[in-house]
Every structure is written in C-alpha cells, then in structure tokens.
C-alpha cells in the first residue's frame, strides 16, 4: 500500500514537480547542501523558528553529548517544534532506568487482526500519514489458515489476491505470496479462515542494524531498546538492508504530520517529529515506557494479546509468559536474540 501510494503520489506530482520544487526552494527550511549559503547567515536562536539552526545541524551524536549539550539540544527542539506545530511540545530525554530490560510478548492465539495497535502507534508516535507517505511501525500479517486447498493443488501457488501493485506485464495483482500478507481489507475481523501475526521492531539484543550503521546513529540503550538519533542519521539505509524483520521505515519525503494530530509529549530518541531522509522504527514507546507507562499498542489491544514488561523482574507479566506459555521468537536461527516473543496459551 505504501508503495502503491508513493507511486500514485509520484504519478500525480510528476507534472507539478517543477513548480513544486521551485516553490519549495523559496521556503525551504531544512538545511541541505543547497542550503549551505543559508547556513552561513548568522543563526538566530533566540527567536522561535521553524528553521533547523546552525547549532542543530552541527550538534553531536546524542549519545556523546554532555548533559548540558543534551539539554541545549532538547531546548532547541522544543522551541522549534512548539513553533512549528503551534502548541507546547515537550521533548523528553529520560535515560534508560537501571535494572530494567524491556521485553514484549504477543499472544498470536488472541490477536484478531483489528490493527487498532497500528492506529494507536501512529497516533502516539507522530509518524508521517496521508496519501503521500504513510509510515506504520507495526505490520499485521494475515496468515491463511490451513494453507492447502483444492486451488492450491490445481494452481500450484499461494494466495495472491492481495496486490500492492500490478507490475511488469502481470495480468493479475500480485502481493505477498509467502506465508502471509499485510494488505488485507476485510469487512470484519477476525476472519474465519485466517489468523494474524503482527510484526514490529524486535529490539534485538544483537541487533544487526546497529552493527552495520556506519555512524552509530542507531544503538542499543541499556534498557534494551534500540533507538535512533534522527539528527545524526545519514540515510544510507544499511540498517534497512540488515534488518531481517523489515521493521525499519525511511522518510522518503518530508513527513506529513498535521498540527492537530501531533502528539506533543515526545522523547528525543522516540516519537519526536522526524525529518525527511532518516530512518525510524518502533521504540517500545520510549517516551511512555521509561516513565512507567504501557506502550500505545499494549493499551490499544482490545483482546489483551500484547504484554510488556521488565525481563529482569521475576514478577513481571513478561516473565510469567516466558515461564508458563509456549513461546517462540521469529527467525531465531539468525542469532539476533529478539526481545519480542510470540506465544500461545
């Protein structure tokens, strides 16, 4: 769908692109190569500005900042975001709590595929939305129950009715053709012949994405959450290539985040508004969980299929799940040690 939309968007904007970029060039706010001249102008930090300032452009990697520098960075962002979105925006910098290692468990037996978690996640985490660029951190795969039918035998294939595009000289739409697909649009869930398999960032203990990042902009915090400093990301997309769970999303264009829908309670490493050209992904709602709250998806799940907890706490939900349920992890063969567990009652 994303692809379809982006394609559709591109098709529709191709004609107006020139005019579009000329217009944008005048009002462009984010520093870029072409904005180098603008950068040379004296920065004005006192005034609230939608512009990314010289200081923000040349700030250090978040992890290497001193406490003062972190405070400055946060202040700068709060001023800029508040001005941009016309409301008081806070940017948290709560560090990982000692003695906490977040783990997540999802009951695939209970999941009904309603995707309320997806919606709640988008509302909470300020992802880009709309036709131009729709970013979702959670993808719910629809799995065919009993994947053998008469047609399978006759036509020798997997379900292929759900397409993201008609490509090449395809005469029928083709989408996900392996175990499941995430573009299902039923009238009602759960469907009789399907079960559901949500996927998001697994917060691996040995994250391949972190290993391949050339500038260490993505890293694992001590509470086990893999975070990204959006201001340091160079957009090389090595991490997208390395992630076996397809959990990472890229801001192909300037994110579209309506002012009224913007969630003003943010975290530097979490749901603060992103810029174009950087990678983002699920952070277990770092802005909530580090303050003792549930993630948005846990709260939104109507059937209680989602559990979050402290893996180091023997009395936590997650530890109980691990101790008493049938648990598995996705692609365990890759030794990424996900802290996202699937289970059945």
């Amino acid at each position: 769908m994303q692809k379809e939309q982006q394609q559709a968007d591109k098709d529709s904007t191709d004609g107006t692109q020139r005019r579009d970029f000329l217009r944008k060039a005048g009002s462009y706010t984010v520093t870029s190569l072409s904005g180098a001249a603008m950068l040379l102008a004296k920065p004005n930090t006192a005034k609230a500005t939608t512009k990314v300032t010289w200081e923000e452009h040349f700030q250090k990697n978040y992890r290497l900042m001193t406490d003062e520098e972190k405070q400055e960075a946060v202040d700068r962002l709060e001023t800029r975001y508040s001005d941009e979105f016309g409301k008081k925006v806070t940017v948290g910098d709560t560090p990982a709590i000692d003695g906490v290692l977040f783990g997540y468990a999802l009951n695939i037996q209970k999941c009904i595929g309603c995707r309320r978690c997806v919606k709640a996640c988008v509302a909470e985490n300020n992802q880009s939305r709309g036709n131009e660029q729709q970013i979702e951190w959670i993808r719910v795969l629809r799995m065919e129950k009993g994947n053998f039918t008469e047609e399978d035998r006759n036509e020798n294939g997997y379900p292929e009715d759900y397409g993201i595009q008609v490509g090449g000289n395809a005469y029928k739409p083709v989408g996900v053709v392996l175990e499941g697909q995430h573009y299902y649009q039923p009238d009602k869930v759960p469907e009789k012949d399907a079960f559901y398999f949500p996927m998001q960032c697994m917060q691996c203990e040995k994250p391949p994405c972190v290993k391949v990042c050339p500038v260490r902009t993505t890293y694992r915090d001590p509470d086990g959450i893999v975070v990204i400093d959006y201001n340091w990301c160079i957009g090389c997309r090595m991490c997208i290539g390395a992630c076996p769970y397809w959990a990472r999303r890229f801001n192909w264009g300037e994110p579209n985040l309506p002012k009224e829908e913007m969630n003003p309670i943010t975290h530097y490493l979490g749901n603060r508004p992103r810029m174009k050209g950087v990678v983002e992904k699920c952070t277990f709602c770092v802005q909530r969980t580090r303050k003792g709250r549930w993630t948005a998806c846990v709260e939104a799940c109507p059937v209680g299929a989602r559990k979050l907890g402290n893996l180091l706490d023997p009395d936590s939900d997650i530890r109980k799940v691990l101790a008493t349920k049938k648990v598995f992890r996705l692609r365990a063969d890759l030794n990424t040690y996900p802290k996202f567990f699937y289970y059945m009652d």
Binding site: A170, V176, I234, G235, C236
Partner: protein, 417 residues
C-alpha cells in the same frame, strides 16, 4: 615547487585542448552533467521520494551502479599488475592511463553513494574525527577507507609518474614502486570489501554467500579491461600515442578468463540455489523467471547471459580475440552484460522479496536516470580530460622547460591535439 605549479597549469591546458570533436564530446557530456545537477537538486529539495525506491526496495539504481563502478576502478590493476609483476613492456608504457581510469571510476563511485544517501548534507558524520566512524563494526566504514585510500593511491601514483616525466627528473623508484604495489593489493580490497558490504546480511539470502567477493572480482576483471580496451583503442585512434597490439592481446586474454570464471560462478550459484529451491532462492527465481507475473528483470537477466556467454565464446577463438576491428564490439557486449548482471541484476533480487516475503517491483524514476546518467557523464568528462593531459605528457609534448618555457609548451600542445 614552482615546477609543480607549472605542471598543474600545463596539464590542465593540455587536458582542455582539442579540436571540434573534442569540444563537441565535452559539450555533449556537459549537457548530462547539467541534468545531474538538476536531478540532485530535485532530490535534495524533495527527498528520496522522487526516486522509484520505497521501504520494500530501498536500494536500487544508485547502488547498482556503485557496485559496478567499484569493479571498474579495481580493474585498473589488470593494466598495472602485468606491467609491474610480469614486466609486460607494452602495458608498462601506458600504465598511467589505467590509473587515470581508476581515478575517474572512484569519483563516480563516491557520487553514486552520495546520490543514494538520504541526508547528503550530513556526509560529515561519517568522517573520522569530526564525525563518528563506526569502525571496525560497520562494513560501510571499511568501504569508505578502501575507496578513499584507493583514490589517493592512484592520484599519488599516477600524477607522481606524470610529474616526473614532465620535469624529466629521475623517479624515486622505491617510493613509486611501493605506491604501485600497495595499489595492486588495494585494488583487490576495494571490491572485496564492497562484496562484504552486501553479503554479510543474512536478512538478504540472495546475497548471503561467500562466493560474492570472488564473483565481484572476476566480473570486475572482465568488465574493467573490456572498457580499458575500448578506451585504449580510442586513445590510439585519436592521439599519436602508440599502444602496441600486444597490450590489447594481454587485456583481452584477461577478459576471456575472468569472464569464463564469472560464468562458472554464476552457474554454481544457480545450481546451488535452484536445486533445493528454498524460499531463500526466491530472489534468484524472480530474477531468472519472474514470479507470479512479476517479471521486469527477466529480459535483462537473459540479455546479460546471452551477452556474457556470447562474448566469452567469441573471445575464446584466438583469431577473433586478436582482431582489433572486432574486439571492441565484443568488449562492449561483455561490458554491458556485466553491467546488467552485476548492477540491477544483483541489487534488486537481493531486496525482492522483502524479509517478510513481499514482492514489489521497482523501476527507477526519471530523476534517478538523470542522476545516474550525469554521474557517468562526469566520469567520462574527467577521464577525457585526464587522458588528454596524460597522453600529452607521455608523448613529451608537455614538459617542463623552466620558467620561460611556458609559451612553447602551449604551442606544442596545440599542435598535437
């Protein structure tokens, strides 16, 4: 120091001296360079959304060309190695031209990487000291090291040789030869590391095999010398510089054997993947046969195969291989075949299907074509200029004549071009 200053001036002058054909060629390239500027501007202003890339296929045309050009850059060693290790006399005379080709190719590589980046304005983040260099963990940082190192080695080696030729001084053999031999090993490293960049990701099973580095090197040493043969034939045609037939025979022999090994490796890969036909082979199946009607890559793959196998068989025949009237056409076929096979034919099936098994076809946007075409134009622009300068120095048309000699230098350069 003064002579060096004169060298720079005279080299520039010689590089930009030429007849109508030369200027028409440079103007033609400039047109595409302007398109590159436009494409880059649109992309930087609007984001990567102007490309055909998306979350499903997030690596595409830019990286495909990058991988291929790293190979061409590395392939300069096919001139340098026989010249210095086997003391091939004829190649020895023109070894510096190979280094010029390497310089142009590495510059192109860097431009492709910048085009691929979502935030080129943050390029400095990857520079050691001022940025953060995730070395030795991130394979990309290794690539940065080997590519920039290779660029420096070739600039130093190539221009030191030309400079000494220009002034007529004795070369410092120890210095020069150490640069040359380091560059030979280094050339292998750039392509090996580029292979490691993509084959160390089990998330992408099509790339996840240990044959990648050797396959990269053999295809590079087939495509690279093919291009070098064509360029050398052009140099021989358009300048008085004499390049002996033996040089071409040597290079075409390298092409044929590397092409043969590359084809063998391709065959091994196909059998290994398709015999068990696990889901991990879906990328390759998609490339070769298409998948449920999605078959954008199929014609490209088979074209590449026909071109590679065809040129291999033709080159095996000594009479054909040694016929310099036919050779360039076979070289073009091999070059194009490998460009397809190792460019889009390698990049796309690696990311299609996605790790969750989704097939999304990718077609580069017109912006991507502009940028890629423009980078090629920049490469050829640079190469033409450097080759003209280098040939003038090799011929002795441009040489240091003391502070007063400038005038006559310009005149002789004019006369020869």
């Amino acid at each position: 120091m003064k002579s060096f200053f004169h060298f720079v001036i005279d080299f520039l002058r010689a590089g930009f001296t030429g007849g109508v054909l030369f200027w028409a060629w440079m103007l033609f390239l400039s047109f595409f360079i302007m398109l590159w500027g436009y494409g880059e501007y649109v992309q930087i202003a609007n984001g990567m959304i102007v490309t055909g890339l998306n979350d499903q296929v997030s690596w595409g045309f830019y990286l495909a060309n990058f991988v291929f050009m790293v190979g061409v850059a590395a392939a300069a060693v096919t001139v340098v190695f026989p010249a210095y290790v086997y003391h091939h006399k004829e190649l020895h005379k023109i070894v510096v031209l190979g280094e010029m080709i390497a310089i142009a190719a590495v510059v192109m590589c860097m431009l492709f990487v910048v085009a691929h980046m979502g935030r080129p304005d943050r390029l400095w983040h990857i520079f050691p000291v001022i940025g953060i260099f995730n070395w030795p963990n991130a394979m990309l940082t290794w690539d940065v090291i080997v590519l920039s190192g290779y660029l420096v080695l070739n600039i130093v080696g190539g221009f030191y040789f030309l400079y000494k030729k220009y002034t007529g001084e004795e070369m410092n053999k120890v210095f020069y030869l150490s640069v040359v031999f380091i560059a030979i090993v280094w050339a292998l490293s750039i392509h090996t590391v580029t292979a490691f960049l993509i084959n160390t990701m089990p998330a992408r099973p099509m790339w996840f095999h240990s044959m990648m580095p050797i396959k990269f090197i053999t295809t590079a040493f087939a495509a690279g010398p093919s291009l070098i043969i064509i360029i050398f034939l052009l140099v021989r045609r358009f300048t008085p510089l004499k390049i002996a037939d033996e040089a071409f025979h040597m290079l075409s022999q390298i092409v044929v054997w590397c092409l043969g090994i590359a084809l063998f490796l391709t065959l091994s890969e196909i059998v290994t993947e398709l015999y068990p036909s696990t889901e991990h082979s879906l990328g390759l199946q998609y490339l070769m046969f298409g998948y449920h009607g999605l078959n954008a890559l199929v014609p490209f793959f088979w074209t590449a195969m026909v071109l590679m196998i065809g040129s291999f068989i033709l080159l095996l025949i000594p009479r054909v291989r040694k016929n310099l009237a036919i050779l360039p056409f076979i070289c073009i076929a091999a070059f194009v075949g490998i460009w397809i096979e190792k460019g889009m034919g390698l990049m796309l099936p690696g990311v299609i299907p996605t790790p969750v098994g989704e097939f999304a076809e990718y077609v580069p946007s017109h912006i991507e074509f502009m940028v890629v075409g423009g980078v090629w134009a920049i490469g050829f622009f640079l190469l033409t200029f450097m080759l003209k300068g280098a040939v003038a120095v090799l011929l002795g048309d441009v040489r240091y004549q003391g502070a007063s000699g400038q005038q006559s230098v310009a005149v002789t350069a004019e006369a020869t071009s």
